[in-house]
């Protein structure tokens, strides 16, 4: 089982984490066409690469955003939440 380096308490097994999906930019609901919106809701880009992802550490109740290379499953860095915040 994989270990994920929790920034607060060190390496913990993946069973302590819940995957919160890739960070994706939501199109402005008032401006997006139906097609653009449907594409955002239903289509995921599955090709490997470096992705920002949400991970929830269950025992500590903390959400983190990590950058991970999905080609080799290596965690690269902790992302500041401010980087992924957005206004509606």
């Amino acid at each position: 089982m994989k270990l994920i380096d929790c920034p607060y308490i060190g390496a913990r097994p993946t069973s302590e984490f819940v995957y919160g999906h890739e960070v994706r930019e939501m199109p402005k609901p008032s401006e997006a066409s139906d097609k653009e919106w449907a594409d955002y809701v239903f289509c995921r880009h599955g090709a490997p690469g470096i992705k920002k992802e949400w991970w929830h550490h269950v025992p500590s109740g903390m959400w983190f955003v990590f950058e991970r290379d999905t080609l080799n499953d290596k965690f690269i860095r902790l992302v500041d939440i401010a980087e992924v915040q957005y206004e509606l």
Binding site: L3, P13, A82, E87, L88
Partner: protein, 972 residues
């Protein structure tokens, strides 16, 4: 005649203790430490089982935990591995895969039919003619399978444990022991694992008579067994490698899930057979098997041997045989014995006839091998069958090569290539945290093996500390250890590639000729390597045969994927004991006292109903009647309970729920419906507004954790000033419902329950029995009711107090089933019961819960798109009164003009209406109240029901005030 030799220097048996076992009714005596196979051999029995397909009589092959034809069974275990499992006093066994026992197996002549049982027989025979399928199926079902499962078997579950170490060493042979010793001496915490009953590995059987390793053996064993930094697990198998060195170790007492900082694989080799005619007749065995028999159990493998040899190890085995008093009539060396070194000279000096450039072409013998025929090899590596030399023998030992136990090195994605110099696969490079040492690493000289292990141990210990190491490692051997092609065709076949599955050379070649010429495809089609030993003695030869057939190199041919488990692991070990949380509410003792029958709801145990009446349905109906006419109470502590605080809390609630929450008055509640981005209903509950900036909301039982996580995440990504707290376990709740609720609760609380102060859908804080509570006047069950939320520590006291104070009016606790029926009568949708993975609020008949005028909520944009696209709608339906046909059930289909037109999501017999009623989706937007629908039941019958308006019960909601003067008469 005695088959037992005099005492051997490192034997595993304790001659002071005898054991008695019984195999197929025959009593046998052995010593403590004997395996079942060695006990059988000591009693002169070499027949240990029947082969899988042709039911050929078989004996020991490897004595190394993959003797699949020495598989026995008893009532406790379907597969007892005779070659490794201990003969425990009183054990009673019989053969596996036989009808009528090993000797008189009904299918013993099946190999006469081998002409018809061609490779890929299952695929072909069952394909056509179709009419013969039942015939073949019956034959195959009767003859296939290994062992009979006792359907009454219980137990055997073993707890799983966790293990942690700096360095995990797999294999306690010379390299593994040296690695463990070196790592421990470098300060590492070490775990050493070996599948054998004792440590020592090849030192104690292949090198048992080599005096030059005596000191090294003693030093290594002493160091390993007496170092408190080394934890030793024998009879334990590392069954797989998972990311970040997470390795399950299957011990006799269950699985240890080990997290190792570093791993040293000192897993060694599996000896491989030569393929020749009748290479499966009892008495034909691997040379290392003969050495194990002699050294570990002091068993004489045979009286007169013939050998086929392609490495120095073969001559070492020959010397061991000679020392044990076995006469060797002939050694066929596939190459030249002059190139084998000192040991070959010693064998020759003892007068053994060595045939250079010879192989074994065939052996004779029915119950046991009686002779071996040798032929010279020509320049192209084939046997010249015009020149035969036949020698009598009752044992044939094969020492033609090895296959490394690289399974877990493959799993960790080591770069493994075929090393043609040695003749085996070898890791060229290893991932971080992984080391390979000893013969699996291509290091063969015994002193080099020890040095390689020690070097790997030092490197691993240093790596565990994050330090570099300058430990030296010897180079792999440059001497060939495995022959290229010890495989010989024969016109009569019966030259077995795979002993598990009875695959002959021609079967495998035919599969390749039929186009299955990829190593993964040919494995599936021919079933080579798919038996219990998983190719441990057949995969390497299979690769060699396919490579030769296709003209490709071994690397181009490749190896099949070596997935976990490395070795069969009992289901009772894999399952372990329950490893999921089971949550109970503080009211559990009261539920038990009231005879609750429990069901699992998420992690919780909830009362399904209380077993107070003769039948389940009568219990449920008695509970619903109490709620409708008197007073009932249900434990709803399992609801998720989340508080949201902060100046942006109203904004958060507006964005999460489909309804507007920011305009709710303080002290009121509102139904909350939650959808996902696609507009699909995911959750529902009730929101209470405590203050301008303070909300409290409940979620369905199963989704408390996910609802909380989602909320937290959104608050973060939206950058809002709000905080969420999950109080699910800390707060408990119960719902007191029924016409008498207000009357009975009022004396017990300081909250004014009057209609004026506490109207329907209001929430108030105060005390019940002096304990702080929040009361919410909600109406899920369709009656006047109060949901009481309190601290977990007070919950049981409040529940028990209410039960006691309301006993005079016959209060009944009601369970999940009664609640479902009560809610159904009110037409309330239960999320995930009446909704599926595509249901949006419009389909579910809840457009009133969607407030489109808000700026934003999750799912809003999708619902805008979906609103004009509805194709199905949820309706209520009723069966005619007096219907007495088959029971309608959830998921029964609606049929219209012979086509599916919808399905039932909830249905129940309602005592209130004295008929079945339920909810269903109708895939017809024109369907309306009063329409007839056709429902197809389990028995195929179509019955008619009528669509009716919802809710079924009390459509005007008058029951919410049923105890107010004058209100009762208004109720229909």
């Amino acid at each position: 005649m005695s088959y037992r030799l005099q005492e051997q220097p490192f034997e595993w048996i304790d001659r002071s203790k005898t054991v008695s076992i019984e195999v197929e009714g025959r009593p046998m005596k052995g010593f403590a430490g004997d395996t079942i196979s060695s006990t059988m051999l000591a009693n002169g029995v070499i027949h240990m089982g029947r082969s899988f397909k042709y039911h050929r009589i078989r004996g020991p092959l490897s004595f190394a935990n993959h003797d699949v034809n020495a598989l026995l069974e008893n009532s406790d275990k379907t597969h007892v591995r005779g070659d490794v499992e201990l003969a425990e006093d009183g054990l009673k066994l019989k053969g596996c895969n036989t009808i009528g026992g090993i000797a008189k197996d009904k299918f013993r002549h099946l190999s006469l039919l081998s002409r018809f049982l061609v490779v890929g027989f299952y695929y072909k025979g069952l394909f056509k003619p179709r009419a013969l399928r039942p015939f073949w199926e019956r034959i195959i079902r009767e003859s296939a399978g290994l062992g009979k499962v006792d359907l009454n078997w219980r137990g055997g579950r073993k707890s799983k444990r966790y293990g942690f170490c700096d360095v995990l060493v797999i294999g306690a042979g010379p390299a593994g022991m040296a690695a463990a010793k070196a790592a421990a001496e470098s300060g590492a915490k070490v775990m050493l694992v070996d599948e054998n009953a004792q440590i020592g590995g090849s030192l104690d059987y292949q090198y048992a008579n080599d005096d030059s390793v005596a000191d090294a053996r003693k030093e290594l064993k002493d160091a390993v067994l007496n170092n408190e930094k080394i934890e030793v697990h024998t009879s334990s198998v590392a069954v797989g490698w998972y990311t970040d060195n997470w390795m399950p170790i299957n011990t006799p007492n269950g699985i240890i899930k080990v997290r190792a900082n570093q791993v040293v694989m000192a897993t060694g080799l599996f000896e491989q057979p030569s393929i020749f005619h009748k290479n499966d007749v009892p008495g034909v065995m691997l040379a290392s098997a003969a050495q194990r028999m002699i050294a570990r159990y002091a068993i004489k493998p045979c009286e007169v041997a013939a050998m086929v040899v392609a490495n120095e190890d073969g001559y070492r085995a020959a010397l061991d045989l000679l020392k044990a008093g076995v006469k060797i009539n002939a050694i066929a060396d596939l190459e030249d014995h002059e190139d084998r070194g000192e040991l070959a000279k010693q064998v020759k000096a003892q007068g053994v006839q060595i045939y250079d450039h010879h192989g074994i072409y065939e052996v004779e013998g029915k119950d046991r091998v009686s002779s071996a025929t040798l032929c010279p090899l020509n320049a192209s590596g084939e046997l010249d069958t015009t020149r035969k030399t036949t020698v009598p023998c009752d044992g044939v030992m094969m020492s033609v090569g090895w296959a490394p136990a690289t399974h877990m090195l493959f799993q960790c994605k080591a770069d493994i290539k075929y090393d043609a110099t040695i003749g085996q696969f070898r890791a060229q490079s290893l991932p971080e945290g992984m080391f390979a040492a000893g013969r699996v690493n291509g290091v063969f000289d015994i002193r080099d093996q020890i040095a390689d292990g020690a070097g790997a141990g030092q490197q691993a210990a240093a790596a565990a500390k994050g330090e570099a190491s300058d430990a030296q490692r010897p180079a792999p051997t440059t001497v060939r250890q495995s022959h290229d092609y010890p495989i010989f065709s024969h016109p009569k076949a019966k030259n077995f590639l795979d002993y598990d599955e009875d695959i002959q050379l021609k079967d495998f070649l035919n599969a390749a000729k039929e186009g299955f010429d990829n190593i993964e495809l040919i494995k599936r089609f021919s079933t080579n390597g798919m038996g219990p030993s998983q190719g441990k003695h057949s995969n390497m030869n299979g690769i060699r045969i396919l490579a030769k057939h296709t003209g490709k190199s071994i690397d181009e041919t490749g190896s099949t994927t070596a997935r976990p488990m490395f070795h069969p692991t009992p289901v009772g070990h894999l399952g372990g004991r329950r490893f999921r949380a089971e949550r109970l509410t503080p009211m559990q003792p009261s539920h038990v006292a009231n005879k609750a029958v429990f069901m699992e709801a998420g992690a919780w145990l909830r009362p399904e109903y209380y077993d107070t009446e003769p039948t389940r349905q009568e219990c449920i109906h008695a509970e619903t009647k109490a709620v409708r006419t008197g007073l009932g109470i249900i434990d709803v502590s399992t609801l998720g309970k989340i508080e949201v605080f902060g100046p942006d809390a109203p904004e958060v609630m507006d964005r999460i729920c489909t309804m507007r929450m920011s305009n709710m008055q303080i002290g009121m509640t509102r139904y909350a419906l939650v959808t996902d981005e696609a507009g699909v209903i995911t959750d529902d509950g009730v929101v209470v507004r405590y203050a301008e900036d303070h909300f409290y909301y409940t979620t369905t039982t199963g989704s408390s954790d996910s609802a909380f996580r989602t909320l937290q995440k959104h608050i973060l990504e939206w950058g809002l000033k709000a905080e969420a707290v999950n109080r699910t376990g800390q707060l408990q709740a119960m719902n007191l419902a029924g016409p008498l609720a207000r009357k009975k609760l009022q004396p017990l609380t300081d909250i004014d329950l009057s209609e004026e102060n506490f109207p329907y859908l209001a929430a108030r804080t105060g005390h019940v029995f002096g304990k702080p509570v929040t009361l919410a006047r909600v109406g899920f069950v369709g009656e006047l009711g109060y949901e009481i939320h309190c601290l977990a520590g007070d919950a049981a006291e409040i529940w028990d107090g209410l039960m006691k104070e309301c006993a005079d009016v016959g209060i009944r606790p009601f369970g999940v089933e009664a609640q479902r029926l009560l809610r159904l009568e009110k037409g309330h949708v239960i999320v995930t019961q009446d909704t599926d993975g595509l249901t949006n609020p419009y389909e579910a008949g809840m457009p009133w819960a969607v407030h489109m005028k808000k700026d934003f909520f999750i799912g809003q944009r999708s619902l805008q798109i979906l609103k004009p696209m509805q194709s199905r709608a949820l309706h209520g339906f009723m069966f005619p009164e007096g219907y007495n046909g088959a029971t309608p059930k959830e998921c029964h289909l609606l049929i219209k003009d012979g086509e599916i037109n919808g399905r039932i999501t909830s249905v129940s017999f309602s005592p209130t209406f004295n008929r079945y009623l339920g909810l269903c989706y109708v895939e017809d937007m024109d369907a309306k109240v009063g329409d007839a629908i056709q429902i197809r039941l389990d028995d195929g019958a179509l019955v008619e029901a009528e669509l009716v308006s919802l809710p079924f019960y009390d459509p005007e909601g008058k029951r919410q005030t049923c105890d107010v003067d004058g209100a009762e008469e208004k109720v229909a």
